[in-house]
Amino acid sequence: MKKEEYKKLVKKYTPKDNKFENALIAFVSGGVVGILGVFIYQILTMFEIGEKTSTIWTVIILVLIASFLTSMCIFDKWVTKFRCGLIVPITGFAHSVTSSAMDYKQDGLITGLGANIFKLAGSVIIYGVISAYVLTLLAVIFHV
């Protein structure tokens, strides 16, 4: 059997992911995270610390909550269930950093934790910085 033929055979027997269901779960669970964010933001604005500071504190609190739940071995079970709804928001970023740190903490602070903490988040940071740089450059050139 040729490789191409075999790929067709594999496709025939491989169960297809229910993309609609996955998207719906992510939409709802991601929405819940969003609502939580707005809720925290609204409370913070009551302290009259300004819009910008309130946003920053909202993000920090969400990161803290996610990291804490990861370290308590709760967040991974939620990620398995709710998938991208929790991975795409800032909670997913915090979770990826904390879970990597937990995996490598026994391998030494420098060679283990330090070297591996951004194993998953590294891509987000590097391409985030690059796209921010490019977009800012475009904004400057076109005076948007």
């Binding site: 490789k3 055979l9 491989t14 939620w78 979770h95």
Partner: protein, 320 residues
């Protein structure tokens, strides 16, 4: 010819250890069940070393003759777990890496040495640890990366056996060393599809070289093809006019359906665990062909867009 028949090789004893997740599955009489994944060690890697030493200690304590060699391996890089665990014993050691086919690979080497009278008693060891595999091959353990339905879960367990020239109720009758088969699959979640062609290739080779018919066996036990791989395996045998009278995939039946663990179990411990704690305990089958399949998966080379090679070794057992 890479098939051999044996007249004087027996499986004298075996000892099995698993975690609670496997105990809650379909396995019946496990010798020892761990309380948690740490097994009183500091890390998961060290836990797997302890698991191996535990089963070796147990099996050695009830076997009072000299062991000539230890043969075995596991899933970790440089088969570090096995090397570290075996360093406790002053016995010559051969380390193997055949991924999930390691158990059969060790049996074939041991059987060949014993049948040629190069050794009398050989201890085999193999293990896998779900969280070590997750960390090494996939994502951080606490990340809990979602898995698609076609994916398998690495079983946690350690199995040690003693292969001997002394007669016992379990005879090793033949073995076939398989070749690497690569059908260009790059999907790391679909190991069943990676390994199914290797299983089919080795089965056909085993039957032709030893001039046997598929009906000579009461049971064909494949390693960890999972639900998806098993279907492809049967499809691949159609051109050879081979219809499996009785086929069980160890990975598919290790966990219960209600445990909701995707396509089933994988890992070097899967097949020996199912064989020793389920199939043999049921006493339903006399002549069993073990097809242990291994996906020789390397994350680095898959990232470099190479496909995953697979291998399968066959061993036949007879319950006397």
């Amino acid at each position: 010819m890479s098939s051999y028949t044996y007249n004087n090789v027996y499986l004298k004893d075996y000892y099995t250890l698993t975690s609670k997740l496997e105990k809650d599955g379909n396995l019946k009489q496990i010798d020892y069940v761990m309380e948690d994944y740490y097994f009183k060690a500091k890390t998961f890697e060290q836990s797997e070393i302890k698991m191996q030493q535990f089963v070796i200690d147990k099996i050695l304590s009830r076997f009072n003759k000299n062991i000539d060699y230890i043969i075995g391996g596991d899933l970790t890089n440089q088969i570090a777990v096995t090397s570290y665990s075996v360093s406790k014993y002053p016995i010559p050691f051969l380390g193997l890496y055949g991924a999930c086919s390691t158990f059969n690979e060790s049996l074939i080497i041991a059987a060949n040495m014993i049948s040629k009278k190069l050794a009398k008693n050989i201890l085999t060891i193999t293990s896998s640890h779900a969280l070590n595999a997750e960390k090494q091959f996939r994502y951080p353990v606490e990340y809990g990366a979602p898995k698609p339905e076609r994916a398998t879960i690495t079983a946690t367990g350690a199995v040690s056996t003693i292969v001997s020239d002394e007669p016992s109720h379990l005879k090793v009758t033949s073995g076939t060393i398989g070749k690497i088969v690569d059908y260009g699959i790059t999907d790391v979640f679909n190991m069943g599809a990676v390994m199914a062609p290797a299983a089919a290739d080795t089965l056909v080779k085993h039957l032709t070289e030893l001039k046997k018919s598929i009906n000579d066996y009461d049971l064909i036990l494949t390693g960890d093809l999972g639900a998806v791989g098993s279907q492809i395996f049967k499809e691949l045998l159609k051109p050879y006019n081979i219809t499996l009278k009785k086929h069980i995939d160890a990975g598919e039946i290790l966990y219960k359906k209600e445990q909701n663990l995707s396509s089933g179990s994988s890992g070097p411990a899967t097949m020996p665990l199912v064989l020793f704690t389920k199939i043999l305990k049921e006493k339903k089958y006399k002549k069993i062909l073990l097809l242990a399949t291994g996906a020789l998966h390397c994350p680095t080379l898959v990232n470099q867009k190479l496909s995953i090679p697979a291998i399968c070794h066959a061993v036949s057992l007879e319950v006397i």
